[in-house]
């Protein structure tokens, strides 16, 4: 279903971290040229690029750290006028299940063993003493959003939506609605996540995604959205088709993806065709293949973002939007249109359409 009604928003700036590095400009071209190789390593963060200070980073999950950097990059790129009230900036993010730093969990568990067994009483003393007092702040999902908001002083309307793909599309729809209703002047929208945490990776293996070709990765992507007027690129469509399997109570992820092909056909009916570029991101080869089959009918040029960036979970749709943004801004002409199709692990399908506006000079700040 279409989530944004008639609402249109302009893209004012963006921030991204991925296997491509700490940038989104050039991402589309690099992916199209096969210059971004799939892999499962962490995004390299130089000290100068990292979020907060050492003490603050001790409180962050990996996803929170990535999200905080992306927020800073987007806000810096926007070059907001001095005096811009950041309490009027909303934040809407798709977030994953934050995992505590393995070292902290290890320390707590290890110190809790007694005579070969786990002792709760020992956990209460030695276990707790071995872990950071602020471990809870690594564990709660909302901190993926809150760390960046605190560091950047962003205080507007907000929502952290759990996402294995679909929630990030919902976050964008929420941001568009908030802007349309005047709840905020600007809004950060996107996602941050890591599939590299041991618990998350084990979960993905259990569900059969890794065997299906999913390449675990990490990343973050945030758009800074504002009014459409005067924007070089606007987002004018946001759809989500819930997984058909959900209505049957289906929880088997592999089977849930079976319905993705039908949803892609629904998307084909609803979003139109003739796109200059279609970007897809899916869960492993099986999902991506279903999307690619439709994408080639809808657009002249197709880019598989997941093939180069790996599976970044809640960040994946947002990074795919940035791929489209880059293509629109760098290689497509005025009036060019892009479609982004993103699949969630439960078989939900999201679609976002972007358009570069004719007669608007420049391509956001820094162009």
């Amino acid at each position: 279903m279409r989530l944004n009604g008639d609402a249109r928003v302009g893209v004012r700036a963006a921030g991204a971290l991925s296997r491509f590095g700490l940038a989104w400009r050039g991402l589309g071209a690099a992916l199209a040229a096969g210059e971004v190789s799939p892999g499962s390593g962490e995004v390299a963060l130089a000290a100068a690029d990292d979020a907060g200070d050492v003490k603050q980073r001790r409180l962050m999950s990996r996803a929170a750290r990535l999200g905080a950097v992306a927020a800073r990059l987007a806000l810096r790129e926007a070059e907001l006028p001095v005096g811009t009230a950041r309490e009027d900036v909303g934040t809407f993010m798709g977030v994953g299940a934050s995992g505590g730093e393995p070292a902290q969990i290890e320390a707590l568990v290890a110190a809790s063993y007694q005579d070969g067994g786990f002792s709760l009483a020992r956990c209460g003393h030695e276990g707790l003493a071995a872990a950071t007092p602020l471990l809870a702040f690594q564990l709660m999902n909302n901190f993926t959003l809150c760390h960046g908001a605190i560091l950047e002083g962003v205080g507007g309307v907000n929502a952290a939506l759990f996402s294995r793909g679909a929630g990030t599309v919902l976050a964008l729809a929420e941001a568009m609605a908030a802007l349309a209703h005047g709840d905020c002047a600007l809004a950060l929208a996107g996602g941050a996540d890591s599939a590299l945490h041991p618990a998350t990776r084990a979960e993905l293996e259990r569900e059969g995604h890794v065997a299906g070709g999913l390449m675990c990765a990490e990343g973050a992507g945030l758009l800074l959205l504002g009014p459409a007027t005067g924007a070089r690129v606007v987002i004018d469509g946001c759809w989500l088709w819930p997984a058909a399997a959900r209505a049957r109570g289906e929880r088997d992820a592999a089977r849930a993806l079976d319905g993705l092909g039908d949803l892609a056909l629904a998307a084909e009916r609803d979003v139109g065709d003739g796109f200059d570029v279609v970007v897809v991101t899916g869960w492993g080869h099986a999902a991506a293949d279903r999307l690619l089959a439709v994408a080639t009918r809808l657009g002249r040029r197709v880019i598989d973002a997941g093939a180069g960036l790996g599976e970044t979970l809640a960040a994946a749709p947002a990074l795919a939007w940035l791929v489209a943004l880059d293509v629109l801004g760098t290689t497509a002409g005025d009036g060019a249109r892009a479609l982004v199709l993103s699949a969630g692990c439960d078989g939900a399908l999201g679609a976002v359409t972007l358009q570069s506006m004719a007669g608007v000079a420049g391509f956001m700040k820094g162009a």
């Binding site: 009604g5 950041r86 709760l120 007092p133 041991p198 959900r246």
Partner: protein, 406 residues
């Protein structure tokens, strides 16, 4: 984004809750109205050595032995709300405030053994042994989205199924999402609320490490003796719909903000909370002086209660005529479910004229000078407008305004 005449509104068609004081909401209300508290020593597991050893836990929860306790709680609350609403028809959306679930302690123990028994953490061994355990672990136990997905499947929701993870504001923010979705036409009926199932060793450890839990073993919001919160568990759900049918109240206004201040401490000025409350009141088109009752976030922590009280005084101009209470004195803090429980308490005030008391509150702190509801419930004072607050670790704030409708 208040609803103008003719616009789609979020009518409250039904409510349900399972709490430590009752298997359904009416039973819970009767106990709450008498000022009873469910806070008691933890007996479900060994808490020797833990900084706080009390909780508001639910005993004898049917199905509670399952891998994911959240589902057992949420399904019961949803069933009650759905029945109370008369099983409405229309495009259904599901909106749940939930954090990550946790595997049972037995599973965690097995995983830790797979890591080498605790003396060292053997990554290679963990990679082999822990993953071999994977098929026996219900995925729902760890996914925040599992509750919304399960409820969506149960009630045939073909529209939105959203999981909001905003810590202690999750349940309230999920209701915000539902209201927005109804207004925008994304769905016609919304099953919304929150669930918390945090009476387990790891949450007691995590919040204990933080120093946020009571060492004294009491939950007494706004009292001079308060020294931390008590973990509780439960689920609260409402059914909202654009078709009023026999509804007597609506969620008329919503507001969400971020403190953008500090990770562990609330903004001492309460600016984020103030903005959230004002946004919700403005959204409802309500003057602060019209508020008759506030279900406060009121966690029983020294700083948070004082900051919220000051924020309420600012918003309500010296607290106005509004009576204030916090259900956490009786049922502890449900974390992701807390905001939804707060909404039910606010609804109780506007729908039935029953303002539930703050259990445990005997001597109000001078820094929390409000018109507290103490002892037993206040009845017989019609409440037209009520406000329900939820403020989260990390500085996410969510406020809801409910209105009685003749």
């Amino acid at each position: 984004m208040s609803a103008a005449p003719g616009e789609r509104r979020a009518w409250v068609r039904g409510a349900g809750a399972v709490t430590a004081l009752g298997a359904d909401w009416p039973t819970s209300v009767r106990a709450l109205a008498e000022g009873r508290s469910a806070v008691a020593p933890v007996t479900r597991f060994d808490v020797t050595g833990f900084p706080s050893q009390v909780a508001a836990a639910i005993a004898d929860l049917p199905g509670g032995e399952r891998e994911d306790r959240r589902l057992a709680l949420a399904e019961r609350a949803a069933a009650e709300a759905w029945a109370a609403a008369g099983a409405p028809t229309g495009r259904l959306g599901v909106f749940v405030g939930a954090e990550s679930g946790r595997a049972t302690f037995a599973t965690v123990l097995a995983l830790s053994r797979a890591a080498g028994g605790g003396k060292t953490f053997d990554h290679a061994r963990f990679g082999v042994d822990a993953r071999a355990l994977a098929p026996s672990v219900d995925a729902a136990a760890v996914s925040p989205g599992a509750v919304a997905s399960a409820l969506a499947g149960r009630y045939g929701a073909e529209g939105a199924a959203r999981t909001v993870s905003l810590a202690c504001a999750s349940g309230s923010a999920a209701v915000v999402e539902a209201v927005r979705a109804l207004r925008q036409g994304v769905c016609d009926v919304a099953l919304a609320g929150g669930v918390g199932a945090d009476v387990d060793p790891f949450m007691l450890a995590g919040f204990g490490l933080l120093g946020a839990l009571t060492a004294r073993g009491t939950s007494c919001p706004f009292d001079v003796r308060r020294d931390g919160f008590v973990v509780g568990e439960g689920a609260a759900m409402v059914v909202l719909a654009v078709d009023r049918a026999g509804a007597r109240a609506e969620v008329a206004g919503v507001g969400r903000t971020l403190d953008a201040y500090h990770l562990t401490a609330p903004d001492p000025e309460g600016n984020g909370a103030v903005r959230a409350m004002r946004a919700a009141l403005a959204d409802a088109g309500v003057d602060p002086g019209e508020v008759g009752y506030v279900q406060a976030h009121g966690t029983s922590t020294p700083l948070n209660d004082a900051v919220e009280a000051a924020a309420l005084q600012r918003v309500l101009h010296g607290a106005g005529r509004a009576r204030v209470s916090s259900v956490k004195g009786a049922l502890g803090h449900w974390i992701a479910g807390a905001g939804a429980l707060g909404l039910l308490c606010a609804l109780q005030a506007v729908e039935h004229g029953v303002m539930l008391p703050t259990a445990g509150l005997r001597e109000p702190d001078a820094r929390c000078a409000l018109q507290h509801v103490m002892g037993e419930a206040v009845r017989g004072l019609p409440v037209e407008i009520a406000l329900a607050n939820a403020f989260a670790f990390g500085g996410a704030n969510s406020s809801l305004v409910v209105r009685r409708c003749a």
